[in-house]
């Protein structure tokens, strides 16, 4: 009865491609949320495109969960506008809820319920749920057997929470730290599921502390600190833009670096770190690598141990948010 999906228009598997160019699924403008004197979210703007995986990164207390929970309709913003699937998460909650899937950071299940029971129950609350048995199989929850939730392992509880988020076949899922506490196999399996969701046209917003997770999964990364977005872009863009990359090689000592720099793009720097050890920093790309190699050839330099150090998302993250520990 809350369905916005006409029954005769069940989406086909190919519908994903059509959605990617559509309206943003999440649009947040000037979001402010205060708890007493503390400002948790401080003028945050973010847009999530349809059919994408967006990773929200940030130190503890940056405002990630608060922002996501406002999008889920749990809290009212103190200022700013939030639209999820074009709807106001609080005012239009009844229409929005059936269309989104939510994975909480922890809990959410009756302590005396078994995994399959809880999943079947959540499926019953939806009009066209996924096949529960297939989902149990897919997420390896079959081994939970007759164990009640409170006795499941942390990893099993996480996978059940993920299953609960997707069982209603939502258009958009919010996953709060979906792989926290998972072993490597379960983590990979969760990543695969996120990729399947995206290719089937489900929008995914996830928060995470794992940089490799964001690099693996995300089309877009949003870095939040002190309640604001301090960087947003694809992992590649952030790694390129946030910090320069470095190329190192060894050769004979005392090369004429001025001559080398003339061959390289403006803004590139070169120095001899120690006798015969050279470092070039700037936009290190295949073209630059080729230029350096041919310059060495022209000057009879046997360049040795050429290595490219590419900045990881973690470097960018630490550079942007600082390295000191947060309380």
């Amino acid at each position: 009865m809350y369905s916005d999906f006409p029954g005769d228009r069940l989406p086909e598997s190919g519908s994903a491609a059509g959605r990617t160019s559509g309206e943003p699924v999440v649009e947040v403008r000037g979001l402010v949320k205060r708890y007493g004197a503390k400002t948790a979210v401080d003028g945050l703007d973010v847009t999530v495109g349809a059919g994408t995986v967006t990773a929200v990164l940030g130190p503890n207390g940056a405002g990630k969960t608060t922002t996501v929970e406002i999008c889920e309709g749990y809290r009212k913003p103190d200022a700013g506008t939030v639209r999820v699937l074009g709807l106001d998460p609080v005012a239009d909650a009844a229409r929005l809820r059936p269309r989104i899937g939510v994975m909480l950071q922890s809990g959410g299940v009756y302590s005396g319920a078994r995994a399959d029971e809880m999943l079947r129950h959540m499926a019953r609350l939806h009009a066209r749920p996924l096949d529960v048995d297939a989902l149990i199989e897919r997420l390896g929850l079959g081994s939970c057997g007759r164990t009640t939730y409170r006795r499941l392992s942390g990893g099993q509880q996480q996978r059940l929470a993920l299953a609960l988020a997707v069982v209603g076949r939502p258009e958009l899922v919010f996953l709060d730290e979906p792989t926290a506490g998972l072993d490597p196999q379960a983590r990979r399996s969760t990543w695969d599921l996120v990729r399947e969701l995206r290719s089937d046209g489900v929008g995914v917003v996830l928060t995470t502390h794992f940089m490799d997770e964001a690099e693996e999964l995300a089309d877009d990364v949003v870095i939040i600190d002190a309640g604001r977005v301090i960087a947003q872009g694809s992992p590649e863009e952030l790694c390129r833009g946030g910090a320069e990359n470095t190329l190192r090689f060894t050769g004979r000592p005392g090369l004429d670096l001025g001559s080398l720099l003339k061959a390289l793009p403006d803004g590139t720097t070169a120095d001899e770190l120690s006798s015969g050890v050279y470092r070039i920093t700037g936009g290190v790309d295949p073209q630059l690598l080729a230029t350096v190699a041919s310059w060495c050839a022209q000057h009879g330099v046997m360049a040795d141990g050429i290595s490219v150090e590419r900045h990881t998302l973690e470097d960018v993250f630490l550079e942007l948010t600082g390295k000191e520990l947060r309380s």
């Binding site: 009865m1 809350y2 369905s3 916005d4 999906f5 069940l10 989406p11 086909e12 598997s13 999530v48 495109g49 309709g73 749990y74 009844a94 809820r97 059936p98 269309r99 939510v102 909480l104 922890s106 809990g107 959410g108 299940v109 009756y110 005396g112 319920a113 129950h121 959540m122 019953r124 609350l125 939806h126 009009a127 066209r128 996924l130 609960l164 209603g168 076949r169 939502p170 990729r195 399947e196 969701l197 995206r198 290719s199 089937d200 046209g201 489900v202 690099e215 693996e216 089309d219 877009d220 694809s234 590649e236 863009e237 790694c239 390129r240 990359n245 790309d285 295949p286 490219v308 590419r310």
Partner: protein, 275 residues
């Protein structure tokens, strides 16, 4: 949002554009189930969990049954009735209502709140009022089972009730409403552990001081007039007026229960915290 451009680094493993092909398994097809089906499913699920919970059964089934059998067969308390069971059965029915609507519901809901069940359900298609309706229905289903069981035991002990079932019904409904309001108020404001302790303590105190097995006449006058205003006293007294003495409708007791119901449900509505 910018379209991602491939990076130049060799270790880049971003998956934008890589070829995971959708199988269509997860293709969106959102929608809520019909409201009646959601409420029925929620009621059935909560009732099943409750009936499977050993502590809850102890409270709602075993203690009332034992008290009924024990005090009906062993002459411990002067009930003033010809047969003790005629006095005890209405009191134990009142106790059954309290154990489910107040104690059991408070403890279960308190832990649901603590474990994020209420939070998770708040973003499910089931609206909040639907959840509360399901909880009430689950309480009523449990009470029906309790009443059937206790009535059978009481008949086995020689109970011969008076009065009309239609006079019993409004007492049970108002009593359930009053105890539910108080139980939800406790569950929605205290920590789960505090709710567990307090709900059991209140259960015990009201069992002793609410005219369930000990007639209020046994208490001093001053205490009796205060104890008589408790919801458990009003419910056990009202049930006794009908079932033991054949009264039509005990308006005084119904009035007390109505006031408790209004206060409890009103306060629960105002102060209940979902997280």
């Amino acid at each position: 949002m910018s379209t991602s451009t491939r990076g130049t680094g060799t270790s880049g493993t971003g998956t934008s554009g890589t070829g995971t092909h959708g199988t269509g398994t997860y293709a969106p097809a959102p929608g809520a189930a019909p409201l009646a089906r959601m409420i029925a499913a929620q009621t059935a699920f909560e009732t099943k969990l409750l009936l499977r919970n050993g502590e809850q059964l102890l409270l709602t089934v075993i203690i009332p049954s034992l008290l009924l059998v024990l005090f009906s067969t062993v002459d411990i308390i002067d009930t003033g009735a010809d047969r003790a069971v005629d006095f005890l059965a209405p009191g134990v029915l009142a106790l059954a209502v309290m154990s489910t609507a107040f104690t059991g519901q408070a403890i279960a809901t308190g832990f649901e709140r603590r474990y994020g069940v209420l939070k998770r359900l708040a973003v499910s298609p089931l609206p909040r009022w639907g959840l509360m309706t399901a909880k009430s229905l689950s309480v009523l289903v449990t009470e029906v089972l309790q009443i059937v069981l206790l009535t059978v035991i009481a008949f086995g002990l020689g109970w011969s009730p008076e009065g009309s079932p239609f006079a019993v019904l409004p007492l049970l409904v108002l009593g359930t409403a009053a105890f539910s309001g108080l139980g939800l108020l406790m569950a929605g404001t205290l920590r789960a552990e505090a709710t567990l302790a307090a709900a059991n303590l209140v259960f015990l105190l009201l069992l002793v001081g609410g005219g369930v097995i000990v007639p209020l006449d046994e208490f001093p006058d001053a205490a009796r007039s205060v104890l008589g205003l408790l919801p458990i006293s009003a419910l056990s007294d009202g049930l006794r007026e009908v079932l033991q003495h054949g009264a039509a409708l005990p308006w005084g007791d119904l009035g007390i229960l109505a006031v408790w119901a209004a206060l409890g449900l009103g306060a629960a509505g105002a102060f209940f915290r979902w997280e």
